[in-house]
């Protein structure tokens, strides 16, 4: 409930806030002043000036009794607005009482009242008001009363639903335990907490009440002559729309302006209450991607399935660069694990490969080749075909990654329909075949079902089956087991391993969990703060890692043989924020080995053996054999 007052005031400085305030002051001002200044002019009958058109004397002409139309419209503001406010107040009082009553009444009566409220909310209030007019009669008083009663269910429901949420909270339960009376709970604990939404709703309701009252008066149910509000003026003026159109149009304009004012005020009130000022986004610098150097297109580069060179992902709106110069290769039949904490840039790297970086992220790279083709330089249709067939992605949360409204079979089949030109029947058969291939029982029946009937593990199997529809050369699995139970994880990992082995596809396996990665990958890329800081074969992971961060990650894995009396190893500190990266090595602030030099200059990623790279100024000397480029990264 604590919100900054400056945030609230900021709403009033937005264009919407300012114009609403101006309109509100104008409408209320006219309502107060017009009857005093223009009252006589609006009511003086002047037979000599009947039904006149526009003139200097009468700006918008006169009515059949020679009264000035503009003056009458302005004077009518007071009655129109006052009646709308009274209606709202009565509706709110009746509604709040009716909505709070179920909490005071017994269970049965309360339920009956709630059912009645829910039923009557379904009926448009204007209709209800018309029927209630049978009982309460016509006239301003009747119209206000009937409309207020007709609008009360809206307030009642708002009160009841908000109060029900509050009533379920702990402090109400505590008050109940203390045997505080029910009426007292409502008055002291519930009502004060629902005041804000009620005030917001009431502001908007003044607007709708004004529009509805105008309608009722127009129909002859509301204000009766000689009094007049805008609805009455409209009803009197509509007959002469050919001769003096202003007689009908002026009240129409007034109704719209006043209605809009109060409804906008409700909108602003909502924003003030929720403390949400639509602050304009920081000016967006358009970062144009530099034209990639023309890479020699040497056809499929041997068995390299994915080649990424100097990949960066930038978010110009936030001024951050979560992926900073990442280079790596993945070969056919290989499982490459990417490990890092959340925010290390591992998932964005995968998204950049699949051209799925969310707007407004900008992807740059000197090379981004998939199956031997630079996907960024293909035409749109060709790029979609290459990405759609050569690459498949398995996402983290299988509960949300499958579309709940589309049958599972169709979600698989559409890949082959779109990219491989299969007929509907052939694609459907292939989908069933792939579901069977990922061990989904009775795949034909399952293909016809919606994902809602699948368990989490089965959905992830279906996702993997989906990735196999087009025989991809690379599968990216982005935290595919994180959302699953441990026993289900095993099955999914085994399935992924089989898939790679049988189809000679490559797998890029992304996870924050180095233990899971070590079970499936043959080579591991360790990412930290948007960069690869170490690359090493999985065999070296446990006792031959070069980077202090990798070593710390490995040390933090609990295993069965550990001495449970010792505390679990953790890494102190947090990764740097993407907009506050240190100048030197980004791990230096948390590194036990770091010295002044580490904080001054970032270490380059250098090769230290076959398939081994590390970005550290102080790797242990006994790692990975002789350092092939020892001199290259010498500290300046």
């Amino acid at each position: 409930m604590r919100r900054s007052t400056s945030g609230r005031a900021a709403v009033l400085r937005t264009p919407l806030g300012i114009s609403t305030l101006v309109l509100l002051v104008a409408v209320v001002g006219v309502a107060v002043v017009a009857p005093l200044v223009l009252g006589s002019r609006a009511e003086t009958i002047d037979v000599a000036a009947m039904d006149q058109g526009m003139s200097a004397q009468h700006l918008f002409g006169t009515d059949p009794l020679g009264r000035d139309l503009l003056a009458r419209t302005l004077v009518a503001t007071r009655l129109s607005v006052v009646l709308a406010v009274i209606t709202t107040v009565v509706a709110a009082v009746v509604g709040v009482l009716a909505g709070a009553l179920p909490f005071v009444l017994g269970r049965r009566l309360g339920r009956l009242l709630v059912a009645t409220i829910n039923l009557s909310v379904a009926f448009p209030s204007l209709l209800l008001a018309l029927f209630l007019a049978m009982i309460f009669g016509v006239g301003a008083q009747g119209a206000v009363l009937t409309l207020a009663l007709a609008m009360a269910p809206g307030f009642a429901r708002l009160t009841h639903s908000t109060a029900a949420a509050v009533a379920g909270s702990d402090y109400i339960a505590a008050a109940r335990l203390l045997r505080v009376g029910r009426a007292r709970i409502v008055l002291r604990h519930i009502l004060p907490n629902i005041a804000e939404p009620l005030v917001v709703n009431a502001t908007t309701t003044v607007g709708t009440a004004l529009l509805s009252l105008s309608g009722l008066s127009y129909l002859g149910f509301g204000v009766q002559a000689p009094d007049y509000d805008w609805g009455r003026l409209l009803s009197d003026g509509l007959g002469s729309i050919y001769t003096t159109p202003a007689a009908g149009l002026l009240p129409c304009a007034a109704i719209v302006v006043a209605g809009l004012t109060f409804i906008l005020a409700g909108e602003v009130a909502t924003q003030v209450v929720s403390g949400r000022s639509r602050r304009r986004g920081t000016a967006r610098r358009v970062v144009t991607a530099p034209v990639a150097p023309v890479a020699e297109d040497t056809g499929p580069a041997g068995d390299v399935v994915l080649r990424v060179e100097d990949l960066t992902v930038t978010f110009p709106d936030r001024g951050t660069r979560p992926v900073r110069g990442v280079s790596f290769e993945v070969r056919a039949g290989e499982v490459v694990g990417v490990v890092g904490e959340s925010g290390s840039g591992k998932s964005l790297t995968a998204a950049a490969v699949g051209a799925l970086v969310p707007h407004p992220g900008v992807v740059e790279a000197t090379r981004l080749d998939l199956a031997g083709r630079d996907v960024r330089r293909l035409g749109r249709a060709e790029r979609d075909r290459v990405l759609g067939t050569s690459l498949a992605t398995v996402f983290q949360d299988p509960m949300s990654a499958l579309n709940p409204a589309v049958r599972v079979g169709l979600q698989l089949a559409e890949v082959s329909r779109v990219h491989q030109g299969l007929s509907r029947r052939a694609a459907a058969a292939r989908a069933v075949d792939r579901l069977a291939a990922v061990d989904i029982p009775s795949p034909e029946r399952r293909a016809r079902e919606y994902p809602g009937t699948f368990s989490g593990g089965m959905r992830q199997r279906a996702m993997i089956g989906m990735s196999l529809m087009a025989e991809p050369s690379l599968i990216i699995a982005d935290e595919p087991t994180t959302a699953l139970d441990v026993t289900v994880q095993q099955g999914v990992l085994a399935l992924l391993r089989d898939v790679v082995r049988q189809r000679n596809a490559a797998l890029l396996f992304i996870s924050h969990d180095i233990a899971v990665v070590s079970r499936i990958a043959s080579r591991v890329l360790v990412m930290y703060a948007g960069q690869i800081i170490e690359e090493l074969p999985v065999s070296a992971l446990v006792d031959d890692a070069a980077h202090p961060y990798t070593r710390a990650l490995v040390a933090s894995i609990p295993d069965m043989g550990m001495d449970r009396r010792l505390p679990l190893a953790t890494i102190d500190g947090r990764p740097p924020e993407p907009d506050r990266l240190p100048v030197g090595c980004s791990f230096a602030p948390r590194c036990p080995l770091a010295d002044v030099g580490c904080a001054e200059q970032a270490p380059p990623l250098v090769a230290i053996g076959e398939n081994r790279r590390v970005a550290c100024w102080k790797p242990p000397s006994d790692v990975g054999g002789p350092r092939s480029t020892a001199g290259e990264g010498g500290r300046g």
Partner: protein, 331 residues
């Protein structure tokens, strides 16, 4: 509408046709119960009129003998429950007595007026849905992930104004522009197809604007869902991404709002029929309420109320068709 009790797995799995019979039975039962409540409310309304309703309707100058005779014909001197039973029977057999003013059978009045009103409301509803859903979806696509701030502002302002301007005011404006100034469309009355244009637009504009706003917000929500990322990762053409994967997931909200829009549109017919002198139920309702012709008003209360209930029923069933999960939730 309150949700049913917690789902019962055994009942869903039993039976070949799944949860549908239970769901439909429950919905129809709720509808029937609401109809009875509605009819009772309409009946109660007449008996809540202060004083003698016949004296009210016929005026203070009516002969006491005439008033007494009318009371007898209407059966107002019978015990209350007899009157109630007769009223319910009349509704079912479509025999609701005569109008106090014109002495024409109420059933005949309703049969004459209903087609004009339903035609108007149906045309306006179809127009609103056909305009609003594509418009909202396109706006949602254009403004997804905070793209195109200009489109966002323009869309929300225009639809905001249209959702506020009341239908009868819009009707007057349309008449002034198209009938009075340019003289291209009729001012009032029901004649050929061209007579439908202005009242239908006046009725449809507000609900269409409201619906388009909701569809845009829903589209933005759906477009940010994980399963849309899956669809994009499959490199499907935009047509499939938006129509197959996004649209069905925003239909539930769109249908709910459409139902509300249709109900408010039905109420709008009262005012719009009055502006355009349309020979429908709404126009007659105003006159009948003003002249306290309560047999007619009773029938109209049941007509309008029943329509609202029927719309709610249709929306609940349609949502269940679009989103089968809600069937399971409800049963």
């Amino acid at each position: 509408m309150t949700a049913g009790p917690a789902p019962r797995g055994d009942r869903i799995r039993s039976g070949l046709r799944g949860p549908w019979p239970v769901f439909l039975g429950r919905q129809l039962g709720r509808f029937a119960a609401s109809m009875v409540v509605l009819a009772t409310a309409a009946f109660g309304m007449v008996h809540a009129i202060p004083g003698d309703p016949v004296r009210n309707a016929l005026g203070l100058n009516a002969q006491p003998a005439v008033v007494a005779a009318t009371r007898r014909t209407l059966g107002l001197d019978d015990p209350l429950w007899t009157q109630y039973a007769r009223f319910l029977r009349g509704l079912v057999t479509w025999d609701m007595g005569d109008s106090l003013i014109s002495h024409v059978p109420v059933a005949q009045v309703m049969t004459r007026l209903i087609p004009a009103t339903v035609g108007l409301a149906a045309a306006a509803f179809v127009l609103a849905v056909v305009v609003a859903i594509p418009l909202g979806l396109l706006a949602g696509i254009a403004t997804r992930d905070g793209r195109s701030r200009g489109t966002h502002v323009a869309f929300t302002s225009v639809t905001g104004v249209f959702s506020v301007v009341p239908d009868f005011v819009l009707g007057v404006g349309l008449v002034f522009v198209f009938s009075v100034t340019f003289k291209v469309l009729p001012v009032a009355g029901q004649s050929g197809p061209e007579s439908y244009v202005l009242p239908v637009i006046a009725l449809a504009a507000g609900p269409a604007a409201l619906l388009a706003r909701v569809v845009r917000v829903e589209a933005q929500r759906v477009l940010a869902e994980d399963y849309l990322r899956t669809a994009r990762s499959k490199r499907l053409p935009a047509r499939l991404v938006y129509l197959r994967h996004a649209l069905p997931n925003l239909l539930t909200a769109a249908l709910t709002i459409s139902g509300l829009a249709l109900s408010s549109l039905l109420a709008g017919t009262v005012l719009v029929e009055s502006v355009f002198a349309w020979p429908g139920v709404g126009n007659q309702l105003v006159r009948s309420v003003l002249s306290k012709d309560f047999p007619v008003v009773e029938a109209m209360a049941v007509f309008f109320g029943g329509s609202v209930l029927l719309i709610n029923l249709a929306v609940d069933v349609l949502i269940a068709v679009v989103d089968p999960r809600s069937v399971i939730k409800e049963t």
